[in-house]
């Protein structure tokens, strides 16, 4: 059975999606356990796959039994196995933690919600596993479509921001598709490994150059990289809480993974880093992303919006780290994909817990929360420390790799930007800690005449998942060295030093 792991990791959630809908038509309460079961299965498969990859190296899976250039193949190496486990973990943990919230928000549409949820996960996992450039596009669209729907289902400005998200996301995906079409035009194949074999002879061709640029632009739009980030804060901050804690950690990170995959394994590093000579401008853009994201985060007084701006900055970390072009920088970027997924999950989950209890996402309304919600705030502190980059949380280690990469590449601007953003994150989070710790609790509901001091600790399941994510943050930090030496080192092609 373990030979089928690469297929099963997608097929389990996919098949479950349809069963969930059918089950929910019979009885609404079936939706959650079915989803949990499927995601657990998918998570276990992903972990098994990672173990298998560590033991035996690259795992290939030929769908429909046709060998690669003719059929579609899944190709799992260290890089995607790691990202796959991260995606599956985030999906499962978030599902467990947000059960009560979802029940409150979407009581009458649980079936469709969980169907979309699990299809989103299937799409993202498929993007990570697939070895076929066009298959990636189809999965991208599944993840995107379900994401649009989930993001748009909220009061206020959510539908409008989701519609803008659709426009920009579609342009990004169409550009990616065009890039793949250009590659197909000159090579006649869609398989990534086959493309990597056939492309080097064609590097002088202008078609390949424009394919490269088009793909890169499309992916940058999809991941919310700095000049194209405008959709991201709106879409993520207006989304319903259980959705933003799912979409925010995963979608941008998976897109960054796709960029790394395309640059390292479809185009060769020699082409991407040396011949195209865009490393320098990309790193500068990343610096701009980090600085702009940090300052925009500083300028807002709303919790979720601040966190989305932090995501813009974090995207800058990873893209910049990757385009440093040396082993340390790329290791840092890949490690940061995993760490940031868990960090963002943790911080958004605790934000969701706070917002659901306080009833507002203004930072000023968080007074005295340490007394009322000690566990949630404790986890929030851990996540904040990790985002700032305090050892032994995991955020420190990926930042360490990124900074050493920047030094090794001589990109002191990038290093300065990382340090500056750490400082600003420090300000951001300690501002919140201060309000929540020192200022006395003030019930803002009291103004309206009905006295409710309903603010109390989040539901039990949520607390457990919050603590689990906090522990994960520490664990990732403590084992960071092992992750890098066991997995990430093998993921980066040998040629990069």
């Amino acid at each position: 059975m373990s030979a089928h792991f690469p297929g099963l990791v997608i097929i389990i959630p996919l098949v479950a999606a349809f069963l969930i809908l059918i089950g929910a038509l019979l009885d609404r309460r079936l939706a959650f356990p079915l989803t949990a079961l499927a995601l657990l299965g998918s998570l276990l498969t992903a972990i098994g796959l990672l173990g298998k990859v560590i033991q035996t190296g690259v795992v290939e899976y030929h769908l429909a039994g046709w060998a690669p250039p003719v059929g579609i193949a899944y190709r799992v190496d260290h890089l995607n196995a790691l990202v796959l486990v991260a995606v599956a973990t985030v999906a499962f943990v978030n599902l467990m933690g947000t059960r009560e919230l979802v029940k409150g928000l979407f009581e009458d549409r649980l079936g469709p919600f969980y169907t979309l949820y699990i299809l989103l996960i299937a799409g993202l996992q498929g993007i990570v596993v697939t070895g076929d450039a066009f298959n990636l596009y189809v999965l991208l669209e599944i993840a995107a479509l379900t994401g649009y729907a989930l993001v748009g289902m909220s009061e206020g400005r959510a539908p409008l921001s989701s519609l803008n998200y659709i426009f920009i996301g579609t342009v990004g995906a169409s550009l990616y598709l065009l890039g793949v079409g250009y590659l197909y035009l000159v090579t006649g194949t869609l398989n990534m490994a086959d493309l990597a074999v056939r492309l080097p002879a064609l590097y002088p061709s202008k078609v390949v150059v424009s394919a490269f640029v088009i793909c890169l632009v499309g992916l940058c739009i999809k991941m919310g990289f700095f000049p194209m980030h405008a959709w991201l804060p709106n879409a993520y901050s207006h989304a319903p809480d259980p959705v933003s804690s799912l979409v925010a950690p995963l979608v941008t990170k998976v897109m960054i993974y796709v960029m790394i995959r395309m640059m390292l394994f479809v185009f060769t590093p020699a082409f991407a880093f040396d011949q195209m000579a865009i490393s320098e401008p990309m790193v500068w853009l990343a610096i701009a992303a980090i600085v702009a994201g940090s300052f925009m985060a500083l300028s807002t007084r709303r919790l979720k919006r601040m966190l989305t701006y932090i995501i813009v900055a974090e995207v800058g970390y990873m893209v910049g780290g990757f385009w440093l072009g040396n082993r340390l920088g790329i290791s840092g970027a890949i490690l940061h994909i995993v760490n940031d997924a868990i960090m963002t999950l943790c911080v958004f989950l605790s934000a969701a817990a706070i917002i659901s209890k306080v009833g507002s996402d203004a930072i000023d309304d968080m007074q005295g929360l340490f007394k009322k919600m000690p566990v949630t705030m404790g986890v929030f502190v851990v996540a904040g420390l990790s985002i700032i980059g305090v050892p032994p949380t995991c955020g420190f280690f990926s930042k360490w790799y990124l900074i050493s990469g920047a030094v090794a590449a001589g990109q002191y601007g990038f290093m300065a930007a990382l340090l500056l953003s750490s400082l600003i994150n420090l300000v951001l989070f300690f501002r919140i800690f201060e309000i929540a710790y020192f200022e006395p609790f003030h019930d803002h509901h009291g103004d309206h005449g009905h006295f409710v001091s309903a603010v109390q600790e989040a539901p039990f399941e949520m607390l457990v998942t919050l603590v689990v994510t906090a522990v994960l943050l520490f664990a990732l930090g403590i084992y960071a060295g092992d992750i890098v030496s066991q997995i990430i080192d093998h993921a980066i092609p040998v040629g990069i030093t």
């Binding site: 809908l21 059918i22 899976y61 039994g65 299809l119 729907a149 035009l185 000159v186 006649g188 394919a211």
Partner: protein, 276 residues
């Protein structure tokens, strides 16, 4: 805004323009795109799968995995519309309008009053003015069976002529939508209600994925139809052909149901009461 738009499209246009001079000429049979993988498909499709329509063979077999996700895309679009738009509410409490078909008189029935649902002489109508449109109703009644028949033909004949699950499914869905437009939404619900449409869409994709899973259980890779040979009492090649037919039926079912459900949700803005 205009200026920004102009600059953006000029940049994108320039980007796309840059590579074009190096393209092979349009329609060149010797272009690299036509020399690598696609000759394999053309030359081997019939002996591999016994399907003369190469597009169908590639769609449902060589790249069947893509197609499964493509069905999943349309399924998720249907679910997304349902999720976004559907308004779950109790029975409407406002007055209902009925028309006596023979005389064209409109009756207004206040809350509490009741008319038998299946009455042939009276017909419930929307609160907007709905004319008694015999021409459209009769024509649609005439055309719909032919459209449905044609849809089935397109699905079944996808092996030999242009067609297949998507096209057939869309045509079948169009037939039901035509019925819903020419009558009204409530009447269409009597033929295919919301739950049935949802069930059919899930069942259609499940048929596809289930076929793949069956292949996996029988020892092949996912979607490797040749492993179904024993189950279908044929050889491996014909099993591929039959497997393609099975998944095409699944696709057709799913697409039909999703199209109808999209129409239901979009046309009534999720209220499922008074449509177009």
């Amino acid at each position: 805004m205009r200026f920004l738009a102009l600059i953006t499209i000029l940049m994108v246009g320039g980007l796309l323009f840059y590579g074009t001079p190096d393209f092979p000429a349009w329609g060149d049979p010797e272009s690299p795109a036509s020399l690598h993988v696609s000759p394999y498909y053309i030359e081997h499709a019939v002996e591999d799968t016994a399907v003369p329509n190469i597009v169908t063979a590639v769609l449902a077999d060589y790249r069947g995995y893509d197609t499964m996700f493509e069905t999943a895309v349309i399924f998720s679009a249907g679910i997304a519309c349902l999720f976004l738009l559907r308004i779950y509410r109790r029975k409407s409490t406002t007055t209902r309008l009925y028309r006596h078909n023979l005389t064209g008189i409109t009756l207004r029935i206040a809350k509490g009053g009741k008319l038998p649902e299946g009455s042939a002489e009276f017909e419930r109508i929307d609160s907007l003015w709905v004319p008694y449109d015999m021409i459209i109703k009769v024509t649609s009644r005439l055309v719909v069976p032919f459209v449905q028949l044609f849809a089935l033909y397109v699905i079944a004949h996808g092996h030999h002529s242009p067609g297949g699950g998507f096209q057939g499914g869309v045509i079948f869905g169009a037939a039901i939508i035509l019925y819903a437009i020419s009558n009204d939404l409530r009447r269409a619900f009597r033929r295919l209600n919301e739950k049935a449409a949802l069930l059919a869409s899930a069942a259609g994709v499940l048929l596809y994925a289930g076929t793949g899973l069956m292949c996996l259980l029988l020892g092949g890779n996912f979607l490797d139809y040749s492993k179904l040979a024993d189950l279908l009492y044929t050889d491996a090649i014909m099993a591929r052909s039959h497997g393609i037919l099975i998944v095409e039926i699944g696709v057709g079912l799913a697409v039909m149901a999703v199209m109808v459900s999209l129409y239901y949700n979009l046309s009534s803005a999720g209220r499922h009461d008074e449509g177009l």
